[in-house]
């Protein structure tokens, strides 16, 4: 590997080292391991959204729906079907991905703000189902009476139920696989085609690329990883409620991606880390934390439209 290539790898290496050692350094600076797990889970959701938003150039404002479906899929499987964490995750991913695949054809022809508007409106269907179907979903109070269970592999048992570090590493392992797949996809011809569509959709269409089909695939892939994040989110809290599906949650994912930098691979993770820590801090300090979050949105849009990594890259270049 020659020198410039190595330079390019340094940010990734730093990110992985920080993530791997998180349970050791985070408590030392006043955090707790569950907060670290939350950052990784929401970071995965934001990176999955960014697959569509930053790399395909399609503005989805409805990813909370698939995040929530993943969460409910996992929770309801463990609560009603089989007490198995692994199966819960699988069902969560399948439910979210299938829903996205079905809704996809209805929306892929729309662009820009209209795509955003329709995706966010569709998300509300699932919100109202979760909210109204009391005896199954627990309604507004959320679905309780279940917990994540230890993982059994013939030769060993990993106690993710009581050991937060073990759960963190499970989350991190799934995060690593997902991020690896997304990075691989983006480097493949398929990913390059998505970027071509982002840069100039008309030209891509004239080149004979089936644009709608590519956007549909990107949408389904993105929603699939978001549902994995949702399933992990439910497992992290041992709880799920309709707010995981609500449209404001979609806005949270978008702000994470923008805050960290939509045009950089690791940006959304950094955005998620800043956002989660900030919200955790604000909600412990003031009852009106919602106002501050709103103000934060406004300030990010006005002063940090390129995100943290975008700013740094600009500084380095100039």
């Amino acid at each position: 590997m020659d020198a410039p290539n190595l330079n390019k790898q340094i940010p990734s290496i730093v990110v992985w080292l920080l993530l791997l050692a998180m349970p050791y350094w985070l408590p030392a600076i006043g955090g707790y391991v569950e907060l670290g797990s939350e950052v990784v889970v929401l970071g995965l959701a934001a990176m999955a959204l960014n697959f569509l938003l930053g790399y395909t150039g399609v503005l989805s404002f409805g990813h909370a729906a698939y995040f929530g479906l993943g969460a409910y899929g996992a929770a309801m499987t463990i609560r009603y079907l089989v007490p198995s964490t692994g199966l819960g995750i699988v069902v969560g991913i399948v439910v979210g991905t299938v829903a996205a695949a079905i809704i996809g054809p209805l929306i892929i022809r729309l662009r820009g703000v209209y795509f955003a508007m329709v995706t966010i409106a569709f998300g509300q269907v699932f919100y109202f189902i979760a909210f109204r179907w009391n005896n199954v979903t627990g309604g507004d109070d959320g679905l309780t009476g279940w917990t994540r269970l230890p993982l059994h592999f013939g030769f060993a048992t990993i106690d993710i139920q009581n050991n937060p570090n073990a759960f963190y590493y499970l989350v991190l392992a799934l995060f690593a696989v997902s991020v690896g797949v997304m990075a691989w996809l983006l480097r493949s011809p398929f990913g390059r085609t998505l970027i071509a569509i982002r840069e100039n959709e008309r030209r891509a269409r004239f080149l004979g690329i089936p644009v709608d089909q590519h956007i549909w695939m990107s949408w389904v892939i993105s929603c699939g990883f978001v549902s994995l994040a949702g399933a992990l989110y439910a497992l992290l809290n041992n709880f799920v409620d309709p707010r995981a599906l609500y449209w404001t949650q979609s806005g949270d994912f978008v702000i994470m991606a923008v805050l960290g930098g939509m045009r950089s691979f690791w940006g959304p993770l950094i955005g998620a880390a800043i956002y989660v820590v900030l919200r955790d801090y604000l909600s412990s300090q003031t009852e009106n934390w919602q106002s501050f979050i709103g103000l934060f949105f406004v300030l990010v849009v006005l002063f940090f439209p390129r995100g943290v990594l975008g700013m740094i890259r600009r500084k380095v270049m100039s």
């Binding site: 109202f128 919602q290 106002s291 979050i293 709103g294 006005l302």
Partner: protein, 288 residues
């Protein structure tokens, strides 16, 4: 049974009128400036709360006139200070900005007026039922329909007959040409935003008389307004009106037969419309 259905259809029509009033304002702003105003529900709440605060001083009728105007003034200022900076940028940014504004307004109203639902007094003679058989036909409900009708007719007159309205419609089709012809587009967009917010404020005053006054009232009304726009057809104001009324009635009828699906049904309608006629009921072909 007939009475129950009639009651719910009528109720749905009223709710639909709210959706339409809100969606018309959203549509105006969306068509001319390409901004989805997530804070629209927030402005609706501001209209309602301002009316609540004013009533002891100027009475119900005074509040009905003044509160929407004051809301529109706030809207004009917000556009001038914040939203104007984002025209011409990726629509993502105006979305996020108004999203943040919606949070701030909802929390702000909670901070100023409290989280509890507040009583909102409408004149006594408007509340009494007009007929003992059709108990739901209170004067206030008819009055709301009347006000919405007047507002909608007024809006279409403004758009059709006044210089401002003609410029707004022209700008919706081709803003650049309008600008080249010597119209100050900044002022035009500003006025247009104010007009949209006025409708939200008016919807707010009417809505709180029916639904009660609470900080989350805007958040619960904004999503159906999106659906109204999509069902009616993007870019078409008559479509938006029709969409609002349709989803209101559909939701009302569903309340009779399957109450727990009354909210979800409008999204199913949206899915059907997108499947069968992606441009919406009255939308122009090929525009989006």
């Amino acid at each position: 049974m007939t009475q129950l259905v009639l009651f719910n259809v009528f109720n749905g029509l009223i709710v639909g009128a709210f959706y339409a009033l809100m969606a018309l304002g959203l549509s105006l702003i969306l068509n001319l400036s390409g901004v989805i105003n997530f804070a629209h529900g927030g402005f609706l709440a501001i209209g309602g709360y301002l009316a609540f605060t004013m009533i002891p001083y100027v009475g119900f009728w005074g509040a009905l006139v003044l509160a929407p105007i004051l809301t529109a003034v706030i809207g004009v200022i917000v556009e001038r200070v914040l939203i104007r900076r984002l025209y011409g940028r990726d629509p993502l940014y105006s979305l996020l900005l108004t999203f943040g504004l919606a949070f701030m307004i909802e929390d702000g109203t909670r901070f100023i007026w409290g989280a509890q639902s507040l009583p909102f007094q409408v004149p006594g003679w408007l509340v009494t039922p007009l007929s003992s058989e059709y108990f739901f036909l209170t004067g206030y409900r008819l009055f709301m329909v009347l006000v919405v009708a007047v507002a909608v007719i007024g809006l279409f007159l403004i758009l059709g007959r006044t210089r401002l309205g003609i410029r707004i419609r022209a700008g919706t089709l081709d803003l650049e040409t309008v600008s080249v012809l010597g119209v100050n587009v900044r002022v035009l967009r500003n006025m247009n935003f104010g007009l949209g917010i006025y409708l939200a404020g008016l919807a707010g005053v009417l809505a709180v008389g029916q639904l009660g006054l609470q900080p989350t009232i805007g958040a619960s009304l904004i999503m159906p307004s999106f659906v109204a726009i999509i069902v009616g057809g993007l870019g078409s104001l008559p479509g938006t009106l029709l969409g609002g009324l349709l989803i209101g009635v559909a939701s009302g009828i569903t309340t009779v037969f399957f109450p727990s699906a009354s909210e979800a049904v409008i999204y199913v309608m949206m899915a059907v419309v997108l499947l069968v006629r992606p441009r919406g009921l009255l939308g122009e072909e090929g525009r989006f």
